[in-house]
């Protein structure tokens, strides 16, 4: 079965404010005529406001972090406690208990952080959708100072979106089929 082709419209804008206006116009368009699917915004810096205009990204990275930290702590504590008495002979040292709590707390702490960080990174790659190949229409200008907006749209509605892009002074507009 042949994959259905995706039709994209990619526009480049001077600054974030005009990009924001484009997105809100597209939203209006979407409400009225249901033509816009997937708005993607490319920017050289982070704009925390995009969540307000693009809607909530569901990225529960902190849950990974919490889970990683907890399992790291428990795992490291158990490892330290088990290793202390799994020796070929139980080894009391320095008049201290064979399973001493304070040092194991230190080990558990380090384990929590190490596994917590690794889990966070894993979550980052999952939710950022990385690693991946570059889009063919990816434009270098986006990594300098321009904002790119990519909209997935049916070919017959293309002109509507294009009109929006034009009305906000897009410096460049490209149609992409992939």
């Amino acid at each position: 079965m042949r994959r259905r082709k995706k039709h994209l419209l990619f526009g480049i804008f001077e600054d974030f404010d005009s990009a924001r206006d484009v997105v809100s116009s597209l939203k209006v368009l979407d409400l009225k005529e249901m033509v816009v699917d997937n708005i993607e915004l490319y920017s050289p810096i982070e704009h925390p406001e995009v969540e307000e205009i693009l809607g909530d990204f569901h990225q529960p990275i902190q849950r990974f972090t919490l889970f990683g930290a907890l399992s790291g702590a428990i795992g490291a504590f158990l490892l330290a406690a088990a290793a202390a008495q799994a020796m070929f002979t139980v080894q009391p040292q320095g008049g201290k208990p064979v399973i001493p709590l304070p040092p194991n707390i230190v080990i558990a702490y380090e384990g929590a952080i190490l596994i917590g960080v690794l889990a966070t990174i894993a979550a980052f790659f999952i939710y950022a959708g990385l690693p991946r190949r570059l889009h063919k229409h990816y434009d270098n200008k986006v990594s300098i100072d321009q904002i790119g907006i990519e909209v997935q749209v049916l070919p017959e509605n293309m002109h509507l979106v294009r009109a929006v892009f034009d009305s906000h002074q897009a410096t460049e507009i490209r149609e992409v089929v992939q």
């Binding site: 993607e40 920017s43 330290a80 380090e110 950022a128």
Partner: protein
């Protein structure tokens, strides 16, 4: 100049161009310095091979000086590693935007000083070839490492720290690597394409990025504190007089930040000069870093002096003996120089003129680092020289092998750092852009709200006065 310092009028394309230029063809001086560093490393390798074949005795350690320069260098480099990641993370969490132009090279400094520090416990071991025994791997004879030992805590902490700070550096660099990818050719293109993992600056990437970055910072602050507390534990957990000090964990953390801040200033001035980063590494940032260094220096001083004072207060026989031996014994020169460099010298930063001059800060930062290096030496050696058992008291100065390996570590660090500077952007482009963006926005908003805001504030302040 004042205008430039606020950094709101820099064009974004210029930021890219400026930083990418620093990656281009190195000048001849670069190769010369690199060659000198490589030579130093080579001499260190030769010294280590000699020590490996003959035994630890060639380093001129003895009983009771079982530890010496290797350990004090280890503490020095680990300490140096703290400023980068810890300061970057703390400043990120407290939303201090002046960190943005300086954190990248500071984090690189962190990574390379950990890599330098991690070599020392290896060199230090009597039987290096059995190093892997400290790893917790299952074994047919069920022999495990000893998790009670502070040295194993060290191993755990350094593993966690090296991994996390390398990842912190790397994750923070991905958007910049994408910029490099977009502008590079040849092998660099391949390298940056692989490393940037297809970063395109999509909104979901940025959102996940920011969240991850802040979460990692939340981990890295307590991690860095714990790492140096654990390094301090190598000393504090023993029962040796003047090692068994409850304030050591905190004192080491303060000392680490202190020497690390000084190192940041040194590299700051050098990079600014070499790569012509005047537009980004402004005197405003230097001033703020210097103020921070001053505050940390005061905390360090407090902890150091209160250690002396509490020994005096407690009147503990052994501790007092070691303390007196420190001040008036064979290592007195070291201790007094340390106090001069690390306790007295930072007061120069009280003066605005000093804080604002590149030259004076450069020299001062070197003095502070010298002081902190000597501090590490005086933590290790003098207490060993006057321990519980007077019959074993002895004075030993480090031998040639130790000194060569010490020099080699500086060469190793510089070499790694130089290579980093030519392969990776040492100033964060996207964050500088963010800084410019926000400052520009803030200043334009300020122009609008200027008058009304000031008026309101005055009224408010006066209201409470009557």
């Amino acid at each position: 100049m004042e205008h430039q310092d606020t950094m709101k009028d820099v064009a974004w394309a210029k930021i890219n161009a400026d930083v990418l230029r620093s990656l281009e063809k190195p000048r001849r001086i670069f190769w010369i310095v690199l060659a000198v560093c490589a030579l130093l490393v080579l001499s260190g390798v030769v010294a280590e091979i000699y020590q490996y074949r003959e035994g630890m005795g060639v380093a001129l350690m003895n009983r009771p000086h079982y530890w010496q320069l290797y350990i004090s260098n280890f503490v020095f480099w680990i300490g140096m590693s703290h400023s980068g990641t810890l300061l970057s993370a703390i400043l990120l969490l407290t939303k201090a935007d002046w960190r943005k132009p300086i954190y990248r090279f500071a984090e690189a400094m962190t990574l390379f000083s950990i890599l330098t520090a991690a070599i020392y416990p290896i060199i230090h071991l009597g039987r290096v070839w059995n190093l892997y025994w400290i790893l917790p791997y299952p074994d047919a004879r069920t022999i495990w490492p000893n998790f009670r030992s502070p040295l194993l805590w060290d191993a755990a902490a350094i593993t966690a720290y090296a991994t996390s700070s390398a990842l912190f550096l790397y994750i923070g660099m991905i958007p910049d690597l994408a910029i490099c990818r977009d502008n590079a050719k040849g092998w660099r293109k391949k390298l940056y394409t692989a490393l940037s993992m297809g970063w395109m600056g999509r909104a979901r990437e940025w959102m996940a990025f920011r969240k991850t970055y802040i979460l990692m910072a939340c981990f890295l602050v307590p991690l860095a504190v714990s790492v140096h507390s654990i390094v301090a534990s190598d000393f504090a957990m023993s029962i040796m007089p003047d090692w068994h000090i409850t304030s050591f964990p905190l004192y080491f953390v303060a000392g680490a930040l202190y020497s690390g801040c000084a190192a940041i200033i040194t590299l700051f001035v050098m990079l600014r000069h070499i790569f012509k980063f005047e537009a980004y590494m402004t005197t405003e940032i230097l001033d703020k870093t210097a103020k921070l260094t001053f505050a940390i220096a005061m905390a360090w001083n407090y902890l150091n002096l209160s250690e002396y004072a509490s020994i005096w207060y407690s009147n503990d026989m052994y501790e007092k003996e070691v303390l007196l031996a420190k001040f008036f014994g064979p290592y007195a020169v070291i201790v007094w120089t340390m106090l001069l460099c690390a306790t007295v010298a930072p007061f120069a930063m009280v003066f605005k003129k000093v804080r604002h001059s590149m030259w004076s800060m450069f020299i001062l930062s070197l003095v502070l680092q010298l002081g902190m290096w000597l501090e590490r030496f005086q933590i290790v050696s003098p207490p060993l020289a006057s321990n519980h058992e007077p019959w074993t008291w002895a004075v030993v100065w480090p031998g040639a092998v130790q000194l060569i390996i010490t020099l080699a570590s500086f060469g190793w660090f510089t070499m790694l750092f130089l290579i980093f500077c030519k392969i990776f952007p040492s100033v964060s482009m996207y964050e500088v852009k963010e800084m410019v963006f926000h400052r520009r926005k803030a200043s334009s908003r300020a122009r609008l709200e200027d008058l009304s805001a000031i008026k309101e504030e005055v009224a408010r302040a006066e209201e409470g006065l009557q």
